[in-house]
Symmetry: D2
Subunit: 210 residues, 4 copies
């Protein structure tokens, strides 16, 4: 497969401390998978190899203010995953993605560099529902979207499904994604992603760019 | 759990011959699951029990014209599942969802009745990306969306994920959904749906309506 | 200006009897503008000249069932223009876009031809909010969207604004659009469209295609 | 008219220096209208009167990095208004919404207060296309959306049109909006807003809240 680099974007979902750094609210659940599959280093290699060829878009989750004034208590925004995250404990307090804590900061090894674009405002699983991602991809005449980051079967998958439904050609770079369990990682890579796009590892992706 | 019927909609995804009737392009893959889990009868019971209480929205997949003039050959619309479906064989010819064939017709046991609403135009996995579903749900002041239909881990799941991201309270009525394999059905019911909403069977749903 | 025909789509908004034919609910308001500005003939000329070069997408408004079961009485779907239309009188009864009446049918001179695509399901001002238009444009690798039809400052403008926000290059073919008054037509052509795209007449458009 | 405060949100579009403060890129064009119609003071009065009753959402335009790495030179993101703004001169340099300049900062008199929510990431005319506004409104069980800010016929109008299309009940508080010319302000208030919602001034709005 040849991938035209000029028309390709890497979309990096939520490379933040709450997921990826000891002490973060959700680190303990994903830690084993991160380590076993060498995911942070794979991401560093991917971005280092792709910068200057592909456009790189960061999609961090947007911080909440202390007390979560953005979400009505008991409202639908406190159902499901989002509600669970509001109660989770980090070393720096209770609640994920809290403004003023290290939780929502991008981890050091993945610090954005010149030319990378940070897309602001993500509050939903699917970046297309809460950010300018569609606009920015099209403003850059992107046709191929390579999704990476966290978690494989949540925000990565919701965003990849939407990219497919928005008429992009989808790539998921499997070794640059992670989630809490092997069952979830395998299911997403084996069942879902091959039917909405191509699954490859970061070395295959980099060597396919033309 | 009490579910206020006035604010609840059932969204029925793609109850059509191409999936559900012998001779349909994709029937052979889902047939065992449909039978083992008694899904069509469960759906009939659900709709019979809910009509007059909840609003019922049908979301059939939109038919293509012969030759698929809607999709550019080799374009991104022919990647993934959609492209595979264009090559599939039905008893009545090649290609799923073909206008003029029985494929896109709603199956007899699930024929819409007075007051049911048929949402037209679905061409994507996620009904929110290609139909008026968001507008119609809101025009009916719906807060609870109960998703049912086919396939559990494709269009049902994409639509349920988007309903969650659009601020609805999501219910998936598991025994009124089906997909090709037990692995996929179980994964969606055990891993995904409980974290974006409630999973229940149709009897629990009907007895929760108030 | 050179417009690459292969990457260009004409999007024709609501060329239907309720707007354009004597006896239609809203015909009386637009009739003078249609005639003075020769709009139907311009549209015929545009489509005849463009077919085989550009992709043509029809976006008719979707019919409602008698009694409007799709919209909750008193709900937000009955506010504003939509509510007004529900009370309007046609020669064939009360209410615009009623299934089973001539209202939602496409007018004879603009009957779709082979290869044209009809996008189903439009229920909102902006086609992007209720149809597969974004998916279909991208599935056809479209970059330039030429919007035409009715009404200039309502559905045409809402759709053109959204096309701009979705990263398409927007063209409005002014003499192939109409609305109820000269004030509205001029305002849209002079103030709005030039700042989100190019305004041209159908002859300029056809001669710009390469 | 009675407006239930608990279900009502004020959405304040782009209250930022580039529009509203001498030296800002676009201030000179809107300055007369701001002064004649007393818009900033009206907004201060509106927010002071509504805080603690309605939810208040700020929608500032998102800053670009110097050099606009977010938008491909010559790409569709540089067409129309956005492209014009990239060339405009402020006292602090060339280009609107530039990160590190006063341009994208919210003006002092409208500084957000405790409980107000700032929605991040707006890069399109219509806030629904680039932010979490739909999610946040629904997470707060909002039914009535009162749109205010700048410019009346651009981002305010695009957002109000989309709110209507997303099934919200729309209010535009006319004396809390402004644009460059009286023609544009009057047209939007007289022709567009009354057909997608209610137009009122800030005193009427505040006295209607129950």
């Amino acid at each position: 497969m040849k991938i035209p680099a000029e028309k390709t974007a890497i979309v990096l979902i939520e490379p933040q401390n709450d997921f990826l750094t000891p002490g973060g609210t959700m680190y303990q659940y994903i830690a084993d998978q991160l380590k076993e599959r060498n995911v942070i280093q794979n991401l560093v290699n991917l971005l280092d190899g792709a910068r200057g060829k592909c456009k790189i878009f960061y999609c961090p989750f947007q911080a909440f203010k202390p007390g979560f004034p953005e979400l009505k208590p008991g409202g639908p925004g406190t159902d499901g995953l989002r509600g669970i995250e509001m109660e989770m404990k980090a070393d720096w307090g209770t609640g994920a993605w809290l403004d003023g804590t290290p939780g929502p900061e991008i981890i050091d090894p993945l610090t954005p560099k010149d030319g990378d674009v940070i897309i602001r405002g993500k509050l939903t699983l699917d970046a297309f529902h809460s950010t300018a991602i569609n606009y920015l991809l099209r403003a850059n005449e992107i046709e191929y979207v390579a999704v990476v980051g966290f978690h494989t079967n949540w925000c990565v998958e919701s965003t990849a499904r939407s990219a497919y439904d928005n008429g992009f050609r989808v790539i998921v770079i499997g070794d640059c994604t992670a989630t809490d369990t092997e069952r979830e990682q395998k299911y997403a890579e084996e069942v879902i992603f091959p039917r909405i796009g191509k699954v490859m590892n970061h070395e295959e992706f980099l060597s396919s760019l033309v």
